[in-house]
């Protein structure tokens, strides 16, 4: 809500040149504070700037108040990132980027969540379709789908061990420290994102398009294949990306089920062992220190940034094309 208000405020306050001027002034102010060794001082400058812009918007004193509060959150989100980038040690980043251990970790961090996202979509899209249509007892199913969103993820890991571990549903299935266990844990925590985004995609489709497909001869499956899935494709894709991104950042469930993972590493063409990025970074931090963990984090941050941009570009496409 506050970002929308701010958007309105900035939009009415001026043009691109004003935005550029504000950003430049902020960069100079931050640079001066940082070089003077008092970065804390910049927080005051940023809040005052936000308050001033809010006051100058068509919201007046109310704009001043909400912009000032909004800026506090922006600072909390943005400043760690800025300071992180400024304090990175390029040598360590380069070293991490060339490390085979990091390569294995990155491969696992792309591959494991990708499998989890595909599994979440394979079984989540049919469920999303049913939820979008509605059925008796839907509330129970919805609660179950959303359960991973509210369960602490270490608890999710424990649930998976109970469900699929040695005395669980598939006693022969080895899940501790295996790719299967990793994918199970990641699917468990990320599937609500896949199901809910796909469901929104299906819900946005006018019922009459299904009626039209059926009346003109399409069976329910043909209607699903030729009309509903193509029209919900953006929601399904967004769901897959969200599930992937959520999986990449998973720590709790993975730490319980698959702290270290044995997997086939095609670069070396042999089985290998590594950890999912969050576990790997935590390990690096505890065993080597903040600077080393920061270097690996920088590489992961680039990866996450690319995913974020991909999701944003899809969202923008949605806004442009309209319902």
């Amino acid at each position: 809500m506050s970002s929308v208000r701010q958007g309105v405020a900035i939009g009415t306050a001026g043009k691109a040149s004003v935005v550029l001027a504000v950003v430049t002034a902020q960069a100079i102010a931050f640079g001066a504070c940082y070089l003077a060794g008092v970065p804390t001082l910049y927080l005051g400058v940023a809040i005052l700037t936000g308050a001033f812009l809010g006051w100058r918007s068509d919201l007046g004193w109310f704009g001043l108040g909400i912009a000032a509060f909004g800026v506090v959150l922006l600072l909390a989100l943005g400043m760690p990132l800025v300071l992180f980038v400024l304090r990175l040690e390029p040598d360590l980043v380069a070293e991490a980027a060339l490390s085979p251990d990091v390569h294995r970790m990155l491969y696992l961090t792309i591959y494991g969540p990708l499998l989890a996202a595909l599994v979440a979509l394979l079984f989540g899209v049919p469920l999303a379709f049913l939820l979008a249509r509605g059925f008796a007892g839907q509330a129970i199913v919805e609660s179950l789908v959303d359960l991973p969103l509210v369960v602490p993820h270490s608890v999710a890991g424990i649930l998976i061990l109970f469900g699929f571990g040695r005395r669980g549903l598939f006693p022969e299935l080895s899940i501790l420290t295996t790719t299967v266990g990793l994918v199970l844990a990641l699917t468990f925590v990320s599937s609500p994102y896949a199901v809910n985004a796909a469901r929104e995609g299906f819900e946005a489709i006018d019922d009459r398009l299904e009626y039209a497909a059926r009346s003109h001869g399409a069976s329910p499956f043909e209607s699903f294949r030729r009309v509903q899935v193509p029209l919900a494709a953006r929601g399904i894709l967004t769901g897959g990306l969200l599930a992937w991104a959520r999986s990449v950042s998973e720590f709790g469930a993975v730490a319980v089920v698959a702290y270290s993972v044995r997997f086939f590493y095609p670069v070396a063409w042999q089985e290998s062992v590594s950890q999912l990025a969050p576990v790997f970074i935590y390990n690096t931090y505890t065993s080597q220190g903040l600077a080393e963990a920061g270097a690996v984090s920088a590489i992961l941050l680039l990866l996450s940034g690319a995913v974020f941009l991909a999701i944003r570009s899809i969202a923008y496409d949605d806004a442009r094309v309209g319902p």
């Binding site: 006018d206 009459r208 009626y211 059926r214 009346s215 003109h216 399409a218 069976s219 193509p230």
Partner: protein, 324 residues
């Protein structure tokens, strides 16, 4: 192909009273039956029920064959929607050809595009079409499967007036030989397209007949009002009828174009006169009630004039005939 419908269904939605429809009607081969009724009368639900989208009691027969238990795709009905319901991810050509995959006996999409004058739109997507163009595409898509019956849900109502008039004329030609069930709230459309009209209210058909029957001889005060007739208490307007005999509670229905002014009959005051496409429409008040009439020579507002209802044009209705 003929269509016989005898259905009853109840529809419920959150926060609304359950709505029931109970309708019997039949459409002869090549006939266009227009279901005419106000918003909320259940016209669209009726059409969707016939199409097989909603469960119902009773029976739907196509050409004598019971299709009640068949899913929509096996009923062989084309459906044209008010909002077109074109597939937005397909081109016009793909939309028109959509059903031919399932209906090998269907028509050549290219020929239909040409017949409906939309060949030049073939590669466009629905988002780039005007309302009139989109509705032609929707019509072509339905005709392409060579449906036994065409179901049309207010296909003209979302269009601007000139487009609606052009398309209405084209539609009349296109569906002239097609068995069609057409629902609308627009009486001009009903008059122009219908072989027969069924007037619907609150989920039930209250009168079925030829356009002349329904418009000239409404069965209830509701039908009279909805088809544009005057419908006034007989006691107040007894002098306007030739023999002057009226019964208590009786109502007189007469179309505005049949009301005769300035010759003889009941005295009424001109309350309003507005210029129309042809002549003037005047409102004549008498004892708290009013009738509308057309004239080329309108008296001044406030003047008194005489009003006569020709005997052969007036329909006598009982108030009780209306469920209100």
């Amino acid at each position: 192909m003929s269509l016989e419908v005898d259905v009853a269904a109840t529809f419920s939605a959150t926060g609304a009273e359950p709505f029931e429809i109970e309708v019997s009607l039949s459409v002869g081969t090549g006939e266009t039956l227009v279901v005419l009724g106000p918003s909320g009368s259940g016209k669209t639900l009726l059409l969707e029920t016939v199409a097989g989208y909603h469960g119902h009691e009773g029976v739907v027969r196509a050409d004598g064959e019971d299709v009640t238990d068949r899913p929509p795709e096996d009923r062989d009905f084309g459906f044209v929607f008010q909002n077109y319901a074109l597939f937005p991810h397909m081109t016009v050509r793909e939309n028109v050809a959509f059903g031919t995959r399932y209906h090998p006996e269907g028509r050549d999409p290219e020929a239909l595009l040409s017949e409906l004058g939309i060949t030049d739109l073939a590669e466009r997507t629905p988002r780039t079409l005007s309302g009139g163009e989109a509705q032609r595409v929707a019509l072509a898509r339905s005709l392409a499967i060579r449906p036994s019956t065409l179901l049309l849900d207010e296909p003209l109502s979302a269009l601007d007036v000139p487009t609606r008039e052009t398309l209405r004329t084209d539609l009349a030609e296109t569906i002239a030989d097609v068995t069609a069930l057409y629902v609308t709230h627009n009486r001009t459309t009903a008059l122009e397209l219908a072989d027969r009209i069924a007037v619907m209210r609150d989920g039930q058909v209250v009168q079925t007949g030829s356009p002349d029957d329904v418009f000239e001889h409404p069965a209830t005060p509701f039908v009279a009002g909805f088809t544009g007739s005057n419908c006034v208490p007989a006691v107040e307007w007894a002098d306007a009828v030739a023999d002057g005999t009226v019964a208590e509670g009786e109502r007189l229905a007469i179309r505005p174009e049949h009301v005769v002014l300035g010759e003889s009959g009941a005295t009424a005051t001109v309350e309003r006169a507005t210029r129309g496409d042809v002549g003037h429409r005047v409102r004549l008040g008498r004892e708290g009630t009013a009738v509308e009439a057309y004239t080329t020579d309108p008296p001044a507002v406030g003047d008194e004039t005489t009003v006569r209802f020709p005997t052969d044009r007036v329909t006598r209705l009982q108030r009780e005939a209306d469920r209100d």
